[in-house]
Symmetry: C2
Subunit: 449 residues, 2 copies
């Protein structure tokens, strides 16, 4: 019998020119071009697994280089071994004794590991004929715990505690899976609130969101206080008092600014303040939370790894944990973060949007509901209606809820035509671009190299 | 008059095959190949500035890609503006609205910014005809404070506090500069203690270190407890009770392991435990410190930015701040870290070794002595006697002390012959290597890509 091996890891620089319409504009990033280092694992039997690392334009080539550096560690590996234990691969990629200097466990090389690990999980789910959320939900507590690296977590969460937590949730799995398949998972929407949209568009999109069934929307803040007050007042008037409105500062503030600015917005009843300051500042988030209660504090899309999430929970610094499918070292590290959040009883409301983040992260939230936290209370998955048309298995939203994916895999496969069209810099969408606000020209001068 | 502009940023992948002799071997990194993404800024007048980002082998190409992505933001800039205010450049590189997604302020893209910023400081010092430590020491408190980004620091250190601290030290600058030029700056050595050295070599190098004038040496630990006990006992016997012996676990432990393991080594009187756990774990370091006092806790070579140093100091988690010249966003961010350490009265003992780290970081420690902390008490710069022969202006050590550099610049310029010989993968040292323990072959399989 011939052993099936990983034959190649192909990585593509794919960029969508979203900055042309200021979709995704916020206080820190006025002109993002949603992009990805797109990862395709190929095996000697012809099977494929898909992953991506979300980026926002310039620098995607660095992320591609990161994936390629780690690809050396997976090409040639037997597929049976990889899909049986993606955690072993995750440890090997994250722990490479030379490459880890470039992190460790953070930034480009960590996200690169996550992209490859997610592609292996995608491959595993395709082989099993299950959507990833279902594959994960069918693992035993023992199998799940074996997929987590507890090295830096045991002072807060041991293997034994994790096992007990998961075992406590086994009884209700069948009923929760049934409810998930029937009713989906609650979504919230950031579509109305981008900082680059004018007041008319903001109000119109707020009303549409309510009509579409959302009961939580999010506005970007932090550019200008007077603008924030006016926009929040308009949004609140548009949606009424019963719809929750969260705000997101995208790290623009230091700790004292965050507290002062948010006090000016408190009268509009913000549901949470997201990324009030540096994602690295555990003690800063704790100070902001203490000063602003009962306004919730949320963060996570830039939280680099489980060690920082551990501390955010230890320090009682957050009310909402916002996991991201691409920021950390893949499904395995997100499993660790879900376990930590469950231990502390803090709700997980995943970060999504961009390109592919909704497709990927829905699986983690749904698995969390079925097998880890066991609840959807105070939880919702972020939803933004951009770029889903480029995916083979795009998310499906009905009445403000994500429907559970049914196709095998993790839903991150891009349409081949989209990859071809948006490849940077040679795809036709870029090669012919004459637009000023694009990745290529949004820098002051071009490099000599 | 023709304005002098940055004409190019050239970046080289330079790797030294140190793993062949296990120089630099520790618990996390048994086979490092000391390497660098080497940065050469060229101007239209023919002037040059030199920086480097230290790496340990595989993945250096990713670091090179990071520097090249940011090079776009500096090529074409007027040199007068850059050298008059490197802080403005640092903010622009670190804050690029698209590239910051890959950090933010951490890992590959942050170190890339640091490499470029350091090269600009090198250029500034060369133009001024001063070694960098002297250039910095001649700046006024107002000029220094203007070089720091306080956005995420003000809850702990304001511009005003920093200004007052620096003004308090102005009076003694002349006398401290005189003392520095006459007596240098205390060094400590890690040369004896690499984990891959056998007992005979360990004992011999310990004795040599004492004979060479060192009163603080460092041993690597964390591989195997019985080995650590035996090695520490041998080292203590070799140096006697009056020489300080620090130990370094290179992040191998979780919090409970660190505490338990170090209790087994306490009888040999460790001066500090370095990197007991993840560099991201502020609360973990605080717990280790509380449990192990009076053994000091040290960290920093992997601490990603000033926000994490701020918290390590806030949480009383460290006794020794180990700045690194290449880990953070350059001289400006290290200035912020020196100010934070000075405010808390915590001594700074810079991380060095590798390739070029001693050359670069000595300037920061000497500047700190003259103008920031104003003291060398309980301080020493790490020294390892590897690879200095590749530098145009190598460090000079006499009787266990660094002599103050006198040549203009930051001392990071490599000899052109060394760059040519060790360029990866095309330099002759690599193209002809048939050795098993090298960067190219220390991976299980080769990539198809």
């Amino acid at each position: 019998m011939v052993t099936e091996l990983i034959s190649s890891v192909d990585t593509f620089d794919v960029r969508f020119p979203t900055s042309r319409h200021r979709d995704g504009s916020d206080a820190m990033n006025p002109f993002p071009d949603y992009s990805a280092a797109y990862v395709v694992l190929r095996t000697t039997s012809g099977a494929q697994g898909y992953g991506l690392v979300f980026t926002v334009g310039r620098g995607t080539e660095v992320q591609v280089a990161g994936v390629r550096a780690l690809a050396n560690l997976v090409v040639g590996c037997p597929v049976d071994e990889l899909v049986a234990d993606p955690g072993a691969l995750a440890r090997r990629l994250i722990g490479d004794s030379q490459i880890r200097w470039l992190g460790p466990e953070k930034g480009v090389v960590h996200m690169a590991a996550g992209g490859i690990v997610n592609a292996v999980w995608d491959l595993a789910a395709r082989r099993a004929g299950k959507p990833l959320w279902k594959l994960l939900s069918d693992l035993t507590p023992e199998q799940l715990v074996a997929q987590v690296d507890f090295r830096y977590l045991r002072d807060v969460l041991t293997e034994q505690e994790a096992l007990e937590l998961l075992r406590d949730r086994v009884a209700g799995r069948v009923e929760r899976e049934r409810s998930l398949r029937a009713e989906g998972y609650r979504a919230y929407t950031t579509t109305p609130g981008w900082l680059g949209y004018d007041d008319e568009k903001l109000v119109r999109l707020c009303r549409e969101a309510v009509n579409d069934g959302y009961d939580l929307i999010k506005l970007k803040v932090g550019g200008n206080l007077a603008d924030d007050v006016r926009r929040f007042r308009l949004a609140r008037a548009a949606v009424g008092p019963d719809i929750k409105v969260a705000v997101d500062a995208n790290q623009i503030w230091g700790v004292p600014d965050a507290i002062e600015w948010m006090r000016q917005l408190a009268e509009f009843d913000p549901y949470w303040i997201e990324e009030p300051t540096s994602p690295d500042d555990v003690l800063g988030h704790a100070a902001v939370r203490a000063a602003l209660a009962p306004i919730r504090v949320a963060t996570g899309e830039h939280v680099q790894n489980a060690v920082v999430f551990k501390q955010l929970l230890q320090a009682r610094a957050v009310d909402v944990v916002q996991i991201d499918a691409c920021r950390v070292g893949g499904v395995n590290e997100n499993l660790a973060i879900l376990l930590l959040a469950a231990k502390f009883g803090v709700p997980v409301c995943p970060h999504a949007g961009g390109v592919g983040l909704c497709e990927l992260v829905q699986h983690l939230a749904m698995f969390d509901f079925v097998a880890v936290s066991g609840t959807q209370e105070n939880r919702a998955i972020e939803y933004v209606d951009h770029l889903h048309e480029h995916f083979v298995d795009p998310v499906r939203i009905r009445d403000g809820r994500y429907l559970a994916p049914t196709a095998p895999g993790m839903s991150g496969q891009l349409l081949p035509a989209s990859v071809a069209a948006y490849r940077y810099p040679d795809g036709p969408e870029w090669a012919t671009a004459a637009d000023g606000a694009t990745t290529t020209t949004a820098v002051p001068v071009s490099a000599a190299a």
